[in-house]
Amino acid sequence: MKSLWAMIRLTLLTQFHLSVYRHRYLVRKEKLWQPLLFFLILLLLLPVLVMMIGGYGALYYGLSHINQETLLLQFFVVAAQVTALFFGFFFVISNLYLSGEIESLLPLPVTPRQVLIARFIGIWISELLPLLVMIFPGFIVYGVLSSAGMTYYLGVILLFPLLPLFPLVLVTILSMLIMRISNVKKHRDLLQAVGLIVGVAIFIVVQIFFRGDWVEENSSALEMIQEVLISFQSKLTTWFPQSVWVVDALTAPAFQEGLLGWGLFLGLNLLSLWLMITVGKSLLYPGVVGGNEVSSRRRVWKSRRQVQIGSARSPLSALFKREWKLYFRTPMFFLNGIAPIIMLIGASGAFTFTDNDKEIVSFLTDTSVTWDPAVWIGASMVIFLSSFTSVSSSSISREGKQFYISKLIPVPVALMIRAKWLFSLSISIFLIVLLGIVFGFFGVPLSSILWMVLIGVCLASICNLCGIMLDALIPNLKWTNPQEAVNKSYAGLLLVGLVGIVAGILAGMIAIAYYFGLPSLLIKLITLLLLLGVNWGVLKGTEAVARKRYEYIEA
């Protein structure tokens, strides 16, 4: 038991860098601006939170009209579980295997069971934190609006932390199986592909649930919504029985369904935990051993390669290629960066592949007077998605210990920044094209899609430059686990906040322009020109900031 506690402590200390922070802020009293910055970021995110709470409230009132308030609770439970399932998969596989941290534990006299429990607790807490920000307020909103009693809040406090447990157990078992199998055959490269495919499969399964026969017949809009909601609820109930149990546990009288709900929910979770630990004992280590092996061909260096040496390239293209290779050859970068986003877009495309949903689309098409909103929604989705990938906001941090090479080489800082900018822009363009295709499925006309792409590229470019600038200001080069470079950065958080504000201002300006009845073509044209100008300015600004910062950043 003692070594289990030591393992848990170690995991929490390393995963959340508690020792580093304590030493830095409390002992050496250095970089005290960082905690300050953190609070600033929280403040920036506050308006988003307020909007979210408002949205939850509105949903509550909407549902209370048709006496379906508990659907809101059910929705929260499902949202928490789906989030944990979906993002958890990449997180678990990176954290458990790809980080290589477990390898350093192999020589220690600890059992796989202890390692697994400690790691799982770390994963669970990390997944719980975002849910605490996004979903937990929802439960409070529900409690306040339905004037629930003490037992409700008590129940929420007890049950909330358990929400992501079951999905995380599922993905943990799944990851251990994948790693075990892929390791037997020593095909490490294959693993990455398999991992992605399984991730996609999980999402498609979730997706199937959203498809199907929501709408029986195309009557009035209100009736349609009501039907959609009712079929939504029945689907939630069949696919996520846990959500019903939680709702019962929270809202039904204790000695009727309430107790049953508690029993079923807790029982299932405990059972799943037990199962995971039992299989994990024998599955975990065999998957870890040799986790960092890469296939080594040791081919004799032939004359064919001689031709390759011959071709000298410009420094810019060399830098760009380096960005590209380092990103896509580090699974943790793209698994935690663009992979979830690509799947998100892909899955929303899958949404359109059912006949019944087509009716919703055609319903939308009939009522739409203009497709302009699609252009603006698309463009704003682009910048949010590309800031969520953190490709730009981690572009300097990703260099990590190798940052010394960037200081060493005789290349102007501006050129290195340009390579990073081109790289993140190429990723953004890929996302934009993907989004454009999805929009096409939804029946958005080509001209609107083209406008969306044009404006989206300009916006994404600005947003990428801002990400690079923020990363130059507060880089995180001290990581040991590549996941930290893309996931745990102030720059990434700040960028999302900043993008939110910029998008808000822009939306306001455009709304005013429409209000005054300016022709839509003119608005789009002016926006485009304006954005191009801003791009130029931000590029110059970013280069200047980076030039100054590169002198001082030390890896």
């Binding site: 050496r28 250095e30 960092n292 092996e293 890469v294 080594s296 061909r297 040791r298 081919r299 004799v300 260096w301 390669r305 001689q306 390759q308 040496i309 011959g310 071709s311 000298a312 390239r313 410009s314 420094p315 293209s317 060399a318 830098l319 290629k321 380096r322 290779k325 380092l326 050859r329 580090t330 210990k401 190798q402 010394y404 090479i405 200081k407 060493l408 080489i409 005789p410 290349v411 102007p412 002198e551 001082y552 030390e554 890896a555």
Partner: protein, 246 residues
Amino acid sequence: MIRLQNISKRYGNSPHKAVDQLNLEVASGEIFGFLGPNGAGKTTTIKMITGIVKPDEGEIEVDGVSVLKDPLEAKKRIGYVPDGAAPFEKLTGMEYIQFMADIYQVPTEERVDRLPKLLSQFKMEEAVGDLIQSYSRGMKQKITLIATLLYQPSVWILDEPMVGLDPQSAHLLKEQMREHSDAGNTVFFSTHVLEVAERLCDRLAIIHKGRVIAYGTLEDLRKGKGDGVTDEETLEKLFLELTEET
């Protein structure tokens, strides 16, 4: 040629300077050894010369070009092999060499001319197509050595280059260093292997707690110690005496 004038560096708000008012001058065509106990400030000094760390004060010149005022021009002349060389793990050896050659704008003919020879000398022909991640410590060292030698820097700076090399490669490296300096270039390296320093260096400096405590040819160092020192005294003994804590 390398010239350091009164350079100092303090990390964060540490009470001690890692490098303290250091002065050094290394001429072209010589091999200069940089010795000192662990934590003496060797790596810090080297990082300042190569532009990785900015000195708090002082002036650094490489071939007469100021590293602080004209970093790009200065960096073009420098080849740096860090201690525990850690090039990009996710590139293959060849891709890394190519990257460096592109950055230092090595013309095609020179690449075709030098690379096959270097690869065969360091016995890296087979491994060069693999990811650096799969290399052993010594192989990583060799790939960085090859990458720097490819562009023939006029100032070659190596931080503990012998660590991790097998006897053949260490011997080869010593030959390369000699060849490079004979061609009129500067070779500056830090080491803990005193026999290497003794036999290879034209001149050397011993630093301790960020300050130069001895500087010159091995002969000079012996003389500097005054009476009790015989001609046979090894560098090891000198080193131990000079860096002894009082």
